[in-house]
Amino acid sequence: MTRYAMVMDTRRCVGCDSCTVACMVHNELPLGIIFNPVITDGPKGVYPHVHMVHIPLLCMHCEETPCVHACPTGASQQDDDGIVWVEAAKCMGCGACVEACPYNARHKDRKSGVVLKCDFCKDRVRGGGNPHCVDTCHQRARIFGDLDDSTSEVFKIVNGMRTERLYEDLGTEPQVYYVIGLGGQEA
C-alpha cells in the first residue's frame, strides 16, 4: 500500500513563500485562494532576546476526515493512498466541508462555486514526482513521501525523530508531521 505524507522541517524553513507561489501558479488557483500559506511565529521575546519560527501549512490529508464525512454529495473523497480531494462535478458548494475542516484548508471559489483544496498534486505524485511545493523549496523544508515505504525519508523521520502534528487532540490523525527545533546545528 501507499500512504502519502509530508514532513515539515521547521528548523530549515525561512518563510520565503516559494511554496505558496509555486502552488498557486502551477495549480492555477484563483487570486485570493492559498492552499499552503507559511505562518511566521515571532519574533517573540523582547529585543534583542528574540526567536522566530516559520510554520508551513497545507491540507493535513487526515486519516479521520471530518470534511469527507460532512460532504452531503460525495464530492469530497479520500483515496486509498490517503489523498483527500474534491470531485468538482459533484460539489454543489454548500461549504459544509469548509466548516468541518479544523485546519482551514478548504476554500470556496466564488467564481466556480465549488470548493478547492490541496490534493498533494495527486496526478504528479502518482506519476512518481513530488508536489510542486516540495520541488520548489530551496531549503528542503518540505519532505514528501510514502509512510508505508520503510526506505522513504518521511518514514525515517516520522519513525525516528520526535515530530508533532497540529491539533493532534482532535483525533483527525493528520498526515503532515512537523519537526520542531531551533535550527542551526540541529537542522
Partner: protein
C-alpha cells in the same frame, strides 16, 4: 485540482535548459516548450546552483512572459515628455532615429555627452561597454556601487583579487555581515543550513533579526552604519589578544606592525557607544570568528551602502580576514582570479579603444578614484600582468551615478545631454530619488529599454521593448571575475516585436559607423557566447550544445595554492594590509575611522529633529529591487509597503500596528505601514525598498507617476558629494537619521 504532470515522453515537448532572470543568482530552469510555446517552467534538479529549487519569483516566469502590461513594440514619444502618448514604430525606425540624434549630440558636445545606465545582470553588459567605448564615451554606469563593486575593488587593492569564493563545506564558521540570504539568495541559505547541520557555526551581524539571523548561532545587532567601528574593534581584539595567524602575517603580508599600532586606538570600549553593542559583545563576536578557524566572512551589500564610511569599513573587513590567514585556505575565502578557460567580459569590451583623453572625462573620476578609470587602470594593469585577463570595466570602472545626475541638472563639469537606461528604473534604484526624477525629466534625450512603462520610461523619447529570460540565452559569470559560470539556452524566440539589449547596442553601433565584421561580428547572442565558451576546448559546435553538455554550469580549473609559491597577485606579491594601490590614489593605506553620514551626527539640532536611525536597502521576498510589484501572483503576498519599528518606540509615538506613517529624513518623506517587531532596536527603523504602484493609472501632468516618490525608500537616502565614500563614490542607504509620525490626513494615502 492539480494539473497533470508533463509527459516527458511526449516527443513534441522539448525540455530546454534555460535560466531564471529574477535576481542575479540566475538559477537553472527547465522550460518545457511545445509548438514554440513555453507551457511550464520548473527548477532544474540537475543544476548545481539551485538543485531544483525555485523561489517565489522564479515560479512566475510565465506570468512575466505574457503579462498584459509588457511593452511589445518600440514606442516613440508623441506630445510632451511625460504625457504618456506614444506612437508604435519598428525597431529599424527607432534605431535609425536614435542613432541620428546621438550622432548630432556627439558632433556638437563630444561623445561624453551620452551616458548609459544599467540594471542587475539581465543584460549583456560587455555589449553596452563595447558600444560605449567604440562610441567614445566613458560614462557608462550601473547601481554597481551599492552592490559588491566597492568590496571587489578594495579587496583587490589589498590582496590582488577579491577572495569571494567561500569554501563553506570546510569552514568552521561563516560570518554574514549585513547579508540576509534567507530573503534574497536562497541557494546560499540552503548551503549555510546544510553546513550548519555538519557543525559549522553561523554568525549574523545585522541590525535586524532577519530570516537568516533567526537561524544563526550568534546574532550581533549593531547600529546601522557602525560597521566600520565594529570592524576596527575586531582588529583591535584579534591583534591585542594574539588571535591572528602570526606566520601568515609575517610571511605573506606587508604592513602588519603598522596596522597593529594603528588599531590600538580602536578598543571595544571605544566602539561600544558607536555600535550600540557592549564591549563584551564586541570581544566575544571577534573571538568567535577568530577561534573558529578556518572561517569565512561572506559578502553582503551592507558595507557597500554606507556612503563615506563604506571604503574604510570594507578595507577593515578585508584585513580581519587577512590577518586570520583565512585567504586561500581550505574552509576560508578563496581567490579564484579570472576564468582562464573561457573569454572573460573584459576581453569583449574594447577598453583599449577609449583614449586617455576620454577616460579622463569620466564623471566623478576626479573625486572617487578607485572604481573609475584612475583606480581601475591600476588594478587592470596588475591583473593583466598576473593572468593576462582582468576584471571588466563595466561594473568596476563606471561613471559615478550621483555625478551624472548632477551633470544633467547643472551642466558641471559638462552637460550630459543623452541618457539610455537599460533594465533599470533609476528613480527607484539610485540614491536621492527626487534628484534622479528631476534629471530624467530634464535630460535632453532619453531612451529606455524596458519590459514595462515605469516612471523613467514615461519621460523617454523612445522606449524599446526588451525580451525576458525565456526569450534569450544567458551567461552569468560573476561579471567575468570568477572561474565558474552558468549558462542557459533561449527557450523561444522573442515574442511580439521584442528584442534583446545586445540587438539594441549592436543595431545602434552599426548605425553610428561601428563595423559589422570588426566590431560586431556576431548577429545574435548565441554566436557571441560561442566565442566566449570556445576556449574551454569542449567538443561543441554551438552555444546550445555547450549548455546541454555542461548541464548549465561550467567550472574552470585554478590552483588555490599558487600563492604559496608565486605569492599574491599584488605588486609586492603579498597581501598589502597597508594598500599601495589606495595610497597611490591618495587615500589612507590603512582604514581610519569616519562616522557614517548621519548615524553618528553630533549636531544637536539634527539629533533632536531626526532622533531615529534608518537602515534600508535590504532585500525582501517576493520582490527584487523595484521588480515584480506588478505581478499579482506575487504582490498579493505584500500588497502594501511596511517599515519595521520596535513596539516600545511605536507606543511612544502613538503608532499602532498597520498604521500608515511618514518616515522622513533631511531629503524628504515617504509613507509606509507600521510593522511592530521586537526584531529591531528601539532607536532603529527599517524601510522596505523598491516600492512603486504600477497599478495606478497615469493622469496628465502627474508629478509623481506610479507613486514612485510616495513609498520609495530612496527618497530618504543620501547621495550628495559629501555623503559619498571618497574611495569608491558609493552613497548612503544605511545609518541615516529619520523621524516617524502617523499620516494624519484622511485615508491611507
Amino acid at each position: 485540482m492539480s494539473k497533470p504532470p508533463i509527459d516527458l515522453n511526449d516527443p513534441s515537448i522539448e525540455a530546454c535548459k534555460s535560466t531564471c532572470f529574477f535576481c542575479h543568482t540566475n538559477c537553472g530552469t527547465i522550460a518545457y516548450v511545445k509548438d514554440g510555446e513555453v507551457i511550464r517552467v520548473e527548477g532544474d534538479p540537475d543544476h548545481s546552483t539551485n538543485r531544483g529549487g525555485l523561489c517565489s519569483r522564479g515560479n512566475i516566469a510565465l506570468k512575466h512572459l505574457d503579462h498584459p502590461d509588457r511593452i511589445n513594440t518600440p514606442l516613440k514619444r508623441k506630445g510632451e515628455k511625460g504625457a504618456g502618448q506614444w506612437e508604435e514604430i519598428t525597431w529599424e525606425q527607432a534605431l535609425d532615429e536614435i542613432a541620428e540624434r546621438l550622432k548630432v549630440i556627439r558632433e556638437e558636445s563630444g561623445a561624453e555627452a551620452l551616458a548609459t545606465c544599467g540594471g542587475t545582470v539581465r543584460t549583456d553588459d560587455w555589449a553596452r561597454r563595447r558600444f560605449m567605448n567604440l562610441f567614445g564615451s566613458p560614462n557608462s554606469f550601473h547601481n554597481a556601487l551599492l552592490c559588491w563593486i566597492p568590496t571587489f575593488m578594495i579587496e583587490t587593492a589589498v590582496s590582488g583579487w577579491s577572495p569571494f569564493g567561500a569554501d563553506l563545506d570546510n569552514a568552521r564558521i561563516a560570518v554574514l555581515w549585513g547579508a540576509n540570504p534567507g530573503a534574497s539568495v536562497l541557494p546560499t541559505m540552503r548551503t549555510l543550513t546544510d553546513c550548519q547541520k555538519k557543525g559549522m557555526k553561523l554568525m549574523v551581524i545585522d541590525p535586524r533579526y532577519t530570516a537568516t539571523a533567526a537561524h544563526a548561532d550568534l546574532w550581533v545587532p549593531l547600529r546601522p552604519g557602525s560597521d566600520l567601528a565594529l570592524a576596527l574593534a575586531w582588529l583591535n581584539v584579534i591583534i591585542g589578544e594574539y588571535l591572528y595567524d602570526e606566520d601568515f602575517c609575517r610571511d605573506y603580508c606587508t604592513g602588519f606592525d603598522e596596522l597593529a599600532e594603528h588599531v590600538k586606538q580602536y578598543t571595544p570600549q571605544w566602539a561600544a557607544p558607536l555600535t550600540d553593542l557592549t564591549p563584551t559583545q564586541i570581544r566575544e563576536s571577534a573571538r568567535m570568528y577568530a577561534k573558529n578557524k578556518p572561517g569565512s566572512i561572506m559578502w553582503g551589500t551592507s558595507m557597500d551602502q554606507q556612503g563615506r564610511a563604506s571604503g574604510a569599513a570594507i578595507h577593515a573587513r578585508a584585513l580581519i580576514r587577512a590577518i586570520m590567514g583565512n585567504i586561500n585556505v581550505t574552509g576560508g575565502d578563496i581567490q579564484t582570479g579570472p576564468g582562464l578557460e573561457f573569454m572573460v567580459d573584459e576581453e569583449f569590451e574594447c577598453n583599449d579603444v577609449l583614449s586617455e583623453e576620454q577616460r579622463a572625462k569620466q564623471l566623478g573620476s576626479d573625486k572617487y578614484k578607485l572604481c573609475t578609470w584612475p583606480g581601475y587602470g591600476l588594478i587592470r594593469d596588475i591583473a593583466l600582468d598576473t593572468w593576462g585577463a582582468a576584471p571588466p570595466s563595466e561594473w568596476m570602472c563606471e561613471a559615478n551615478a550621483p555625478s551624472v545626475w548632477r551633470a544633467i541638472l547643472e551642466g558641471e563639469p559638462y552637460r550630459v545631454r543623452a541618457l539610455i537606461c537599460c533594465a533599470t528604473n533609476p528613480v527607484n534604484s539610485y540614491g536621492d530619488s527626487k534628484v534622479v526624477l528631476e534629471a530624467l525629466k530634464k535630460v535632453e534625450f532619453l531612451v529606455t529599454c524596458e519590459y514595462w512603462m515605469t516612471s523613467a520610461a514615461l519621460y523617454a523619447d523612445y522606449v524599446m521593448p526588451i525580451a525576458g529570460a525565456l526569450e534569450r540565452p544567458v551567461i552569468h559569470n560573476n561579471y567575468g571575475c570568477a572561474t565558474v559560470f552558468h549558462g542557459g539556452r533561449r527557450a523561444i524566440s522573442p515574442l511580439h516585436d521584442r528584442g534583446t539589449d545586445f540587438q539594441f547596442w549592436r543595431g545602434l553601433g552599426l548605425r553610428l559607423g561601428q563595423d559589422d565584421e570588426e566590431d560586431w561580428p556576431w548577429e545574435c547572442e548565441e554566436e557571441a557566447y560561442f566565442d566566449i565558451v570556445y576556449p574551454t576546448g569542449l567538443e561543441i559546435e554551438s552555444y546550445d550544445e555547450f549548455v546541454d553538455e555542461i548541464g548549465g554550469s561550467y567550472s574552470s580549473d585554478f590552483n588555490p595554492n599558487a600563492w604559496r609559491e608565486e605569492g599574491f597577485p599584488t605588486r609586492s606579491g603579498k597581501v598589502e594590509l597597508k594598500s599601495s594601490v589606495l595610497e597611490e590614489l591618495g587615500y589612507p593605506g590603512l582604514p581610519t575611522y569616519v562616522g557614517a553620514p548621519e548615524a553618528h551626527a553630533e549636531d544637536p539640532e539634527v539629533v533632536e529633529s531626526f532622533p531615529l536611525i534608518l537602515t534600508t536597502g535590504g532585500g525582501f521576498m517576493p520582490f527584487h529591487h523595484s521588480e515584480e510589484f506588478n505581478i499579482k501572483e506575487l504582490r498579493f503576498l505584500r500588497p502594501d509597503p511596511y517599515f519595521d519599528i520596535n513596539p516600545e518606540t511605536a507606543q511612544k509615538l502613538g503608532i499602532k500596528k498597520k498604521d500608515w506613517c511618514w518616515i522622513e529624513t533631511m531629503r524628504g518623506r515617504i509613507k509606509q505601514r507600521a510593522c511592530l517587531t521586537n526584531g529591531i532596536a528601539p532607536n532603529t527603523i527599517y524601510t522596505q525598498r523598491g516600492w512603486w504602484y504600477p497599478e495606478r493609472t497615469l493622469t496628465p501632468g502627474e508629478d509623481d507617476p506610479f507613486g514612485v516618490l510616495e513609498s520609495n525608500t530612496n527618497v530618504l537616502t543620501a547621495a550628495s558629494f559629501e555623503d559619498c565614500d571618497p574611495i569608491s563614490g558609493t552613497w548612503a542607504c544605511r545609518g541615516l537619521r529619520c523621524r516617524v509620525y502617523k499620516v494624519q490626513e484622511g485615508g491611507a494615502r
